[in-house]
Structures are given as C-alpha cells and as structure tokens.
Amino acid sequence: MNDVTGMPQTVVVLGGGSDLSRAILRDLAGRRLSSVLLTGRSSARLESAADELRGLAVAKVETEELDVTEIQALENFADSAARRLGDIDMVLIAAGELGTAELTELDATTVASLATTNFTGPSAAMTAFARVLCAQGHGRIVVLSSVAGYRVRAANFVYGAAKAGLDGFALGLGDALAGSGVSVVVVRPGFVRTKMTEGRKPAPLAVDAPEVADAVVRGLETGAEVIWVPSVLRYLFGILRLVPRSIWRRMPG
C-alpha cells in the first residue's frame, strides 16, 4: 500500500532498464519499497537493474521481458502482474525512445514506430493498469513525459509530438479517474544526461537521473500531480510557449 507520505511498497515498471527508472527505484528502495516487477525489452539491462535493487535490500525483485509496442500483450500482462504481486501501489511508465527527427532519415515506418514506442504503447499500458488499479481501489500511475512535449520543436519533433500525446492522455486519464482512488502523476523532465541522450549536446538546465528521481520522490510525498525537473522549467516553459513560431523554429538543436 502507499503510505500517507506517498511511498509505495510494490512497483511495476515499464522501461525498467532505463537510467531514469533505475534512479527512481533506488530512491524508493530507501523508503518503503519491498516488491518490484521490472519489465523492458533488454533482459540484460533488466537483470542489472534487478541486481542493484536486490543489493539495496528490496525483498522481492522479478524481471520480465515485455515490449510496450506489443499492444495485445498488455492487458494480460497487467492482470498477471496483479496476480503475482497482490496490491500494485505504483506503475512507473518509463518506456521511450528518442529516435530521430532528421528529415533525411525519417520515413513512414520510423515515425509510426516512434509513435508506438512513445505514445501508443505507454497509453495502452496505462489503460490496462488503470483497470487493474481501479479494481483494487487504489494506486498510482507515474508516467515519464517530457518538456519536449510541452512545446514541440524541430530538433526532436517526432519524439516531442508523441510525448505531447502521452502527456495529454495521462492528464486526461488522471481527471477521468478522479474519485476512483487511482491517480496519475505526470513527470516533465528537461534534458537529462542518460544513455538515451548520449552523444547529444546537453540543453541549458540539463540534469542527471538522480535529480529527476529526487524530484519524483519529493512529488510523491507532497502529492504533486505534475512534476517538472528542474522545477524552474514550469515557469520557463510557461513563457517559451508564448514565443512566436518564427523565432521558435530557429531554436538550436
């Protein structure tokens, strides 16, 4: 169960090999975390994440290969996760892929695939878990969105557009679930130095994964519904949203 300070005991992760989800789980392990199911595409990365959590005295850590783009599998997976874990206090949706926005590299298949990885799959997974959490009468879905979706820019517009969709879906789902005991938390990090962004030039106000984790855990405790990392981005993007498009399109990559 989530305690009154917002700390979960049982967590299911989609995208469990990612740097961000690993950092978040490390922090939760120091609080109340006792049971985790890590899922993702690369079993090697999942195992490494699982070993780390076992080392942090998390009593029960399981892994399962799951590709969030295999939509048909998601409903069954949510049911089986509930059977295996009992109460699911938190579902962390951290699956995603930056991909490309170079016009020379883009084709219909690439765009569809990125949209599935970043929007369709995660949204479908949230839906499947929302059903399970509603039946148990409590629980929280934490979804990693991005400032890239708050105002989409040319440098990463495919990823950004998919995140914009995911962000809107998560906010809407959260509102639709009001009164059910289930809540949705949207996390909007700026540039995070992780494997996913390796080789790219960090944007101003770039952060590392532990800072995102710290902000997420603080947000769980204070009951935040939208978490910006760093928090100043909330105000910065409030302004950037109003920048005229003629200037916005010239924003550097």
Partner: protein
C-alpha cells in the same frame, strides 16, 4: 440493509491516502453475519476518526457500523449495554443527564463504541483508569466463522486480541460498559503554564496523582530555552457543592453544540508554520500562569476541537497525519529530541499533546504502556517529513517505546514488529477466528499482517470500472 453506491472513496481523519471500497450499512447483527460469510476482503468501520488507513479496505467491502446505534438499559450500578455503532456523543447525551459518564473518552466524542474498543482508546485519565477495555465487561463479536460473547472472564484471549485489534478479529456488534457516576456535568479545572519541557514534565509528575484527568498542551514550535513550553490542565468531575447556586438547578445539563464548521477544503493548508506559530504564541500567553478551581463544561475540557466541524479540512487537499508515540519513564530525552527535530525542521504541529500513561492493559496490540506519550498533528504537504518520522521511529523503538496504530499511516512494518512484542501472539488468535484472512484493512496490508497477497473480489471484468 442499505447498499450505498458501488464504490466510495474513503479516507481516515487525516485525509491522506484515499482508497475506494464498496460500502454496506447493515441494520442488524443478522445482516452483518450474512456479509461476513461472503468472500472478503471486509472491514468494519465506525466514524472514520482513526487518522491513517485503519478504517479503509481498498477494493473490498467496508461495513459501516453506524446503523447499529441503540443505547440499551442503564442499570443502577452504572452498567450499560450499547450497540457498537453508537457514538460516544450519543452515549454521553443519554447518560450524563442521568448522572453517569463514560469511563474513558478520547479527544473527540465522534467515535463509535466499536471503534473505541478496536483502538482501545485512552483519555486524560489513563494514568489512573487505563484504557476503555478495562471497563468493558462483555462484547459481542461476529467473526467470519462464528459469533462470540467475550470479556476479560470469558474467551479472554479473543477479548484481548479484539481490544486494540483494529477491527481485524471480527465485527463488534455491542458491548457492556461500566460507567462512572458523576454529580454534575462540570469539570473542576486547574491550569498552569510552564516555561520549558523539564518544568512541564516535573510538574506533571508531581500533580498527576492528585487528579483524575491531566494533560499538557505543548508549543511545538518553541525552541532553544523555551523548547517544550506548555500549558498543563488537570481536572476532576465537579461535585454539586462546587457549583455556584445558579448552576445547581440543572447540575447535569449536557447539550454541547458545534460552534463553527469548515465548509470546504482550502487549496492549501491553512495550518502552516506562520499561522501555527501565531496561534501557539497567543494560546500560551492567554493561559494563566496558574489558575485553580475553574468550572468548565465537559465538552470544553475533553473535546474542544469538536466545536469546529470538519476541522481536518483545514490541512488542505494533501491532508495530515498524527505522530503519537509512548516511551517509558526514564526516556524523557526521546520526547525532547522529537520536539527538537520537528522544531528545527520548522514542521509546525498545530496540536501537540503530552501525557503520562499509567500501567498497560492486557490487549495484545493495545497502545498505552507506562511512560510519556506525545501526540503531534503534522501537515503532509512538505517533502521530507517521511524521513524525519522514520528517524523518530528509530529513537522511539530503541527506547522501548511504540507508535499508535490508530494514528499511524506510515510506520515501517519491521519497526512496528519490534515495538509490539505480542504481535505474533495476536496474529495467532486472529488466524484462529479468521483462518481465510477475510478481514483486511489498508493498514493490515501495509504492515503485512495479511501476508503478501490478499484475497480480492473480482468485480472489474472489461473496461475501466471506477
């Protein structure tokens, strides 16, 4: 019986972690037995005044007991039979005019008899009279497997597992209580102000034994030299001879009223360090250095917060928790360190209450043990409180103390086990009457009483059903 809706969001008094359950409201013990025969999880609930998650059962059925509220005959010796859903408010309205008082009352009248026993509540007279279970002669308990009549002299194991058992051993349907005779509905109260914690504790130790009721309000934000500055109040039931002539016409009048009501939840907590510091300063200054023999109404002395309806909304949407612990005499340092830690973190407790407990009762999970107890209401909106309370738990557990389950919403399961050494014994009694684990609360799930998995009703089939 009436089924209310099909899934309702329930919280404790602290409003911090809501969960949805199906609520049923049986109107007879027979209805209730029928419910308990169905597969769980189930949980009885009274007026929802436990602070954390003790009266919630996410995804299960919560049995609202408040329709079982009859007050039975009062015999001449002061013995009364009441149904479990009867509130102490209703009970007092029935008995005070007839010259009796409840043997123990917590800080609010809005708890049910069943809830009071399941929490084994204490009051300002614990140092003298113990908890409520010490005055319960008999109770009827419906378990998932049978019906029991138990008391300290009959099925005593089950009785003591139920007193303080958080509703997890069965549903209490009625109880026989030994009341206290009173001559008037007034309290004779002495008040004194103390400048720091040491003085407060020393004075309480001196004067406790002379009075039936005693408690200290502590300024949780005072620090340094003034850490723990307090207002001590002690009291006894006034005799007719204590009343001025004009009150003697109706010495047992009792009709407490609500003075105000909080109409909605403000967007942020109104009880922040600034407002609480201002209130505390005023409250401390307002109190006389020493005043004796003041006459107060029962509600003023015991239940001042009942005068403001829904005061828990003042903490805003994130809600609050109460941290209440007890440490043995000799561990006064722990009380000091808790106050220091919160004061230095500028975590303002609007309500901080210090009291000396007497001897422990027999309930396996009953909270009070001999020593100092401190209760602090704490807002949940700021990050960092969780870790601080974890630190405080360590201090309390090391000193041989414990936290109160009816207030808790966050203690670590393994720490709790070290605080309650009779936990396994209690669990044995519980499993004997509920072998399939039908009775489950969010609290019992969080603390692992129910095992890693809990039974769940499969209600949602396709689509999202709220």
């Amino acid at each position: 019986m009436t089924a209310i809706g099909s899934g309702e969001l329930l919280t404790g008094w602290g409003r911090a972690c809501p969960s949805a359950a199906w609520v049923v409201r049986p109107e007879s013990a027979q209805d209730l037995e029928a419910f308990l025969r169905e597969p769980g999880p189930h949980l009885p609930r009274g007026l929802g005044r436990s602070y954390g998650d003790a009266a919630q059962c996410a995804g299960g059925t919560v049995i609202d007991c408040t329709a079982l509220d009859r007050v039975g005959e009062l015999d001449r010796s002061g013995r009364i039979h009441v149904e479990a859903g009867c509130s102490l408010d209703a009970l007092m309205r029935a008995i005070v005019p007839r010259g009796f008082f409840v043997p123990v009352t917590p800080g609010t009248r809005y708890v049910t008899m069943g809830g009071a026993i399941a929490s084994d509540v204490h009051g300002k007279n614990h140092h003298r009279d113990g908890t409520i279970s010490a005055r319960v002669e008999r109770l009827s308990l419906v378990t998932p497997t049978a019906q029991h009549e138990c008391g300290p002299d009959r099925e005593a194991e089950l009785f003591w597992a139920t007193a303080g058992g958080m509703g997890l051993t069965g549903v209490i349907t009625d109880a026989t209580l030994r009341l206290v005779p009173i001559e008037t509905s007034r309290m004779l109260v002495d008040t004194e102000r103390t400048e720091d914690l040491d003085t407060c504790m020393a004075r309480m130790t001196e004067i406790d034994a002379e009075h039936r009721y005693s408690v200290a309000w502590v300024d949780s934000l005072a620090s340094g030299r003034r850490l723990g500055r307090s207002v001590i109040t002690v009291g006894d039931h006034a005799k007719i001879s204590d009343l001025p002539d004009k009150m003697r016409d109706d010495p047992l009048g009792f009709n407490p009223r609500q003075l105000a009501n909080v109409p909605f939840t403000p967007p942020v907590s109104l009880l922040n360090p600034l407002t609480v510091a201002a209130f505390n300063e005023a409250w401390y200054r307002r109190a006389p250095r020493r005043r004796t023999g003041e006459l107060q109404a029962i509600s003023t002395f015991f239940h001042p917060l009942d005068g403001v309806g829904s005061w828990n909304l003042l903490y805003g949407p994130r809600g609050f928790t109460q941290y209440q612990f007890v440490v043995p005499f000799g561990a006064e340092e722990v009380v000091r360190r808790v106050l220091e830690r919160l004061s230095s973190a500028r975590i303002a407790s609007f309500l901080a209450v210090l009291k000396r407990f007497g001897e422990a009762g027999n309930g396996h999970l009953s909270f009070p043990t001999v020593g100092w107890t401190l209760a602090l209401d704490l807002p949940l909106g700021e990050a960092g409180l969780g870790r601080i309370l974890d630190e405080l738990d360590e201090l309390v557990a090391e000193a041989g103390g414990r936290v109160y389950l009816s207030k808790d919403g966050r203690v670590k399961p393994e720490i709790l086990r070290s605080m309650y050494p009779r936990m396994d014994e209690w669990n044995g009694v519980r499993l004997a009457v509920d072998p399939r684990g039908v009775l489950v609360s969010d609290l019992s799930r969080r603390l692992g009483f129910a095992g890693p998995r809990c039974p769940r009703m499969a209600r949602a089939v396709g689509g999202i059903h709220k």
